[in-house]
């Protein structure tokens, strides 16, 4: 009797080991609320239901701590197999060899890269090699308050509007005093994506083509900074120092105090919740010579360079981000991130099609084809931004002119650019 019980127990243990040996566990890191991972759990559950041999352990960290947490996990040998990386940090992570080149995996699995917005794909590429698949692809749109345009008797511009068209509109909205003052444009100067579109429209940029030399101190760029400073003094632009975060910009826009502002896809969702707010989205106005002035940016989901579970991790990454796979649809239903592919049905899931802006899908496509411009991201981007933003704030506060402000930090920026 005892022997029989022992044999049965041994058999059960053996089966247990056998089963557990077949299941591969991978870790998937993303930023979000660790207490409410929402759609990520839905995606993981859906994946595990169709892949019983793979278990996905989520690693959720609040955004502000996310990338440093990933670095700490890597330093401690606990790196996640699949991880989302913000494009601001992509070059830093690449430089440190953290992400795996998945070009051969993409080819062998026949992932159709042509379905993606091509501008979004570029933020996952380095030297022609793919280090991830896009996540959260969306440009920085120009939001136009249709009520303010109607009240001013001004027709809405077309997508091919230019900088001169934009400047001509500004005085029409700048009226009133103090609490009743309205402005043509609201601009936040909290990061470089709010400033570079103005530069691109005149053919200027933050760096040279090789991204090894600081070029925002050229006469053309300095002139543009002084021009913007002038518009603030005239009251055409609201004082950027008011907008310390996007919520304040949304509030002013919703209160019909600024006729135009830039905004991301997430700002579309938050603005759609405001009752009575009617707006359209447009590309950022460029010039005939330099039409590509709209920021295009995407984040990346990639594989850890030293993952021991490459096959399982790649299987999950495809489910999560490959065109036509379940992950993209689930993200759209949860309104977590805008579509990475040009699909009006997915846009209808993401942004309420019954509310403004009703032109978001078509404008996104046009931006992708004609008006999009990638941020010149590279290693040290945030450090450079940390130097640039206070100087830009000084220019717009009228403390210093553009040339002086940019020349002051040029040596430090170049030192960062040329650091090995």
């Amino acid at each position: 009797m005892v022997k029989r019980i022992g044999l049965v127990l041994l058999l059960l243990v053996g089966i247990g080991f056998g089963l557990s040996a077949e299941v591969t566990t991978i870790k998937y890191a993303f930023w979000g609320n660790p207490d409410a991972i929402g759609v990520e759990k839905d995606i993981i559950d859906a994946f595990e239901a169709t892949h019983p041999d793979i278990k996905v352990t989520p690693v959720a960290v609040a955004y502000n701590d996310y990338h440093s947490k990933i670095l700490i996990l890597m330093a401690g040998g606990q790196a996640p197999d699949v991880m989302r990386i913000d494009s601001y940090f992509f070059q830093d992570f690449l430089k440190a060899g953290a992400l795996k080149d998945i070009s051969s995996l993409i080819k062998s699995s026949k992932v159709d890269l042509t379905k993606y917005y091509q501008s979004g794909l570029q933020d996952s590429v380095k030297d022609g090699k793919y280090y991830g698949l896009p996540w959260g692809v969306a440009p920085l749109y120009m939001f136009l308050n249709t009520k303010m345009f109607a009240d001013a008797g001004v027709p809405l511009p077309k997508p091919d509007w230019t900088w001169n068209d934009f400047v001509a509109l500004l005085p029409k909205f700048s009226k009133g005093e103090a609490e009743t003052k309205t402005y043509g444009m609201g601009m936040a100067v909290t990061d470089l994506s709010g400033i570079l579109p103005y530069m691109w429209g005149v053919g200027e940029d933050l760096f040279d083509n090789g991204r090894t030399k600081f070029t925002l101190n050229t006469p053309g760029a300095s002139k543009k900074l002084d021009e913007l400073s002038g518009y603030i003094k005239k009251g055409y632009f609201a004082d950027p120092s008011i907008f310390t975060n996007a919520d304040i910009l949304t509030r002013y826009f919703a209160q019909n105090r600024i006729a135009m502002r830039t905004g991301a896809a997430s700002d579309i969702l938050s603005s759609q919740k405001i009752e009575g707010l009617d707006f359209v989205v447009m590309p950022f106005p460029g010039t005939a010579k330099f039409p590509r002035a709209t920021v295009s940016k995407a984040n990346t989901v990639g594989l850890y360079a030293k993952t021991k579970n490459e096959k399982a991790a790649w299987e999950f990454l495809q489910f999560l981000r490959a065109p036509g796979r379940e992950g993209e649809t689930l993200y759209m239903k949860a309104k977590r991130t805008p579509p990475a592919v040009d699909d009006p049905e997915l846009w209808a899931l993401y942004a309420d099609p019954t509310k403004s802006p009703k032109n978001v899908a078509t404008i996104t496509k046009e931006i992708n084809i004609k008006y999009g411009h990638l941020l010149p991201l590279r290693a040290g981007w945030l450090e450079i931004q940390g130097l640039m933003v206070p100087q830009l704030q000084k220019v717009f506060a009228g403390v210093v002119d553009g040339k002086t402000a940019m020349n002051e930090i040029a040596p430090q920026v170049n030192a960062i650019l040329n650091k090995k």
């Binding site: 440190a96 609490e179 120092s241 008011i242 310390t244 206070p390 506060a397």
Partner: protein, 293 residues
Amino acid sequence: MTLSASTKEAIAGYAFILPVFAGFLVFLAFPVIASFFISLSEWNMLNEPGFAGVANYIQLFRDPFFWTCLSNTAYFSFFSVLVGIFLSLYLANLIQETKLKGSSFFKSALFLPVILSSVAVALVWQWLLDSQTGMVNHLLNAVGIPSVPWITSPAMALNSVVMVAVWRQIGYNMVIFLAALANVPDELYEASSLDGASRFQTFWNVTWPLISPATFFIAVTSVINSFQVFDLTTILTNGGPANSTNTLIMMIYQNGFQFFKMGYASAIAYVLFGIILVITAVQTLVSKKWVHS
């Protein structure tokens, strides 16, 4: 082997403090020592640290941004501590002297900001101090005073942060002063009154010396805390406008967790530690001259 009673007592004592001591070693002592060695290296947390000697410190003292953050931090510390001590002492004295009915209500009301989340405080004050739609400017406009760019002007922003910090901390200091004032013997006040001393003379010659230990405690702890200001400046102004409210702790955070320059961030942390240590040592030395023991 039988142990003596004193040995057993000693073992029990060590056993009781062992968990706390282990925590101290793991979460305080080891990181502080490790941080020193990291400050002597160049490390982005992904690759192996490379020895850099004192290069981080040299770079730090040549970095104009460091001097900006240091002067902002010193300004904030000086004025928030000075104004905080003055106001909290004044309020404590007022409550103690007048012996108002309902003084408990005032004590609670003034202490309330202390227990509020600093993030919530900063967010609410951000609304209140909005230059165009904030309540503070609205009230000023109502009495004919033009709007003030509280947090949007480089000249005003740091003063606004000082103001919010003082508002938040005043209750805590006031409670300590109230306890100190309660311990001043009434006979001394009676004697002072009999001698014909004025209110100021009584305060300066009787009250001030006797509450000096409490004042010293508040001064030291307030300076140490003020040099570590982070949440208020991050939420209220995010270090701006134009770096006017950027502090040393923000600089450490940015370099360590945004720019991945752990060696440099550790060097800044050690310099900050050194500054606080020197200030506290000076305060302790000088206290012998004015703190009544």
